[in-house]
Symmetry: C2
Amino acid sequence: MLQNSNSDKNVIWHTSTVNKEDKQKLHGHKSLMIWFTGLSGSGKSTIANALQLELYKKRVSVYLLDGDNLRHGINKGLTFTEDDRKENIRRTAEIGKLFVDAGMVVLAALISPYEKDRQNARSIFIKEEFIEIYVKCPLEECENRDPKGLYKKARQGEIRQFTGIDQPYEEPTNPEIIIDTNVLSIQECVEIITSHLFNKVGLIKKTKE
Amino acid sequence: MLQNSNSDKNVIWHTSTVNKEDKQKLHGHKSLMIWFTGLSGSGKSTIANALQLELYKKRVSVYLLDGDNLRHGINKGLTFTEDDRKENIRRTAEIGKLFVDAGMVVLAALISPYEKDRQNARSIFIKEEFIEIYVKCPLEECENRDPKGLYKKARQGEIRQFTGIDQPYEEPTNPEIIIDTNVLSIQECVEIITSHLFNKVGLIKKTKE
């Protein structure tokens, strides 16, 4: 006797009458998932926000999924254990995929410390639609910035499961872009990314000049 | 000693540099969550798809969250128990909120049989941004249509937890729109909804004539 579970054939996939390409055409650009990974304090959210503004100015339909913000909504109830981080990243990637399907450029800024989880996120997108950006910054510098005072708490043992302190951060093995916020300004980081998006990825189709 | 959990003050809300109003301006219309509820076979997905096409033709940035499709992605692993339906609806609403925040019109087509769950979904939106559409159709007619052959299986006991058969469907107490697919054509349903959206809600701001 079957249970009416999602894994069986009783859940039918409805093909939408307006497809991704239609939506990209309406917005005038490709759709992309841009995934920022890096230590707490490395500058992920700051740069993602600055990139969002820059893209918006160029009339790109862009949306930022911020790891912290998602934890107040869709990811409420998830903790920072390895399993819950995995689920956090899985859901964020799935949401990103919906936005890409909706013809948008979606940015995600999450520590996402495990290579395997990031690879899983990448795996649900077609190759050209997923761009991983490693926001590189030495732990010492992140700890020195400590914008939220979290490293201090982690060192004092007030917070556990903190990436870089008592949980590892695995560096990306093959990200599309690496930006080193220890040496680059926010503006320089954004320029590197937009140059990649406009010149390499061809985000906006050039109309006749 | 604090755990680094999402419920504590260590998760900070980042204010986006591009807000909802900016995104609505870019798209040229308001953002909305349009929630279709009704029995399996009532016509939710069909009408939501037809509405999506109609809105797209008017250059509205629109996206359809289909309950069945979501169960292949973000809601993978959830079953049809009351608790899992509740979580299914919670996540769909939270995703809808992200799309509304991104300046889009988002449609959701889910049986969503419990009034309490629909009220919870509504509660995370501001009043004008949530529109509940009850796709009304007698159980006998839905069972007669049985487009996926599910009622037959449910009657034969091959599927359990099936709304209308061995789980209740609670009619919406105060939906913004009721459409009766037992008497109206798809086109008539879409016209009722678009008339509401354009004339009552003012979805697209009229430019000078």
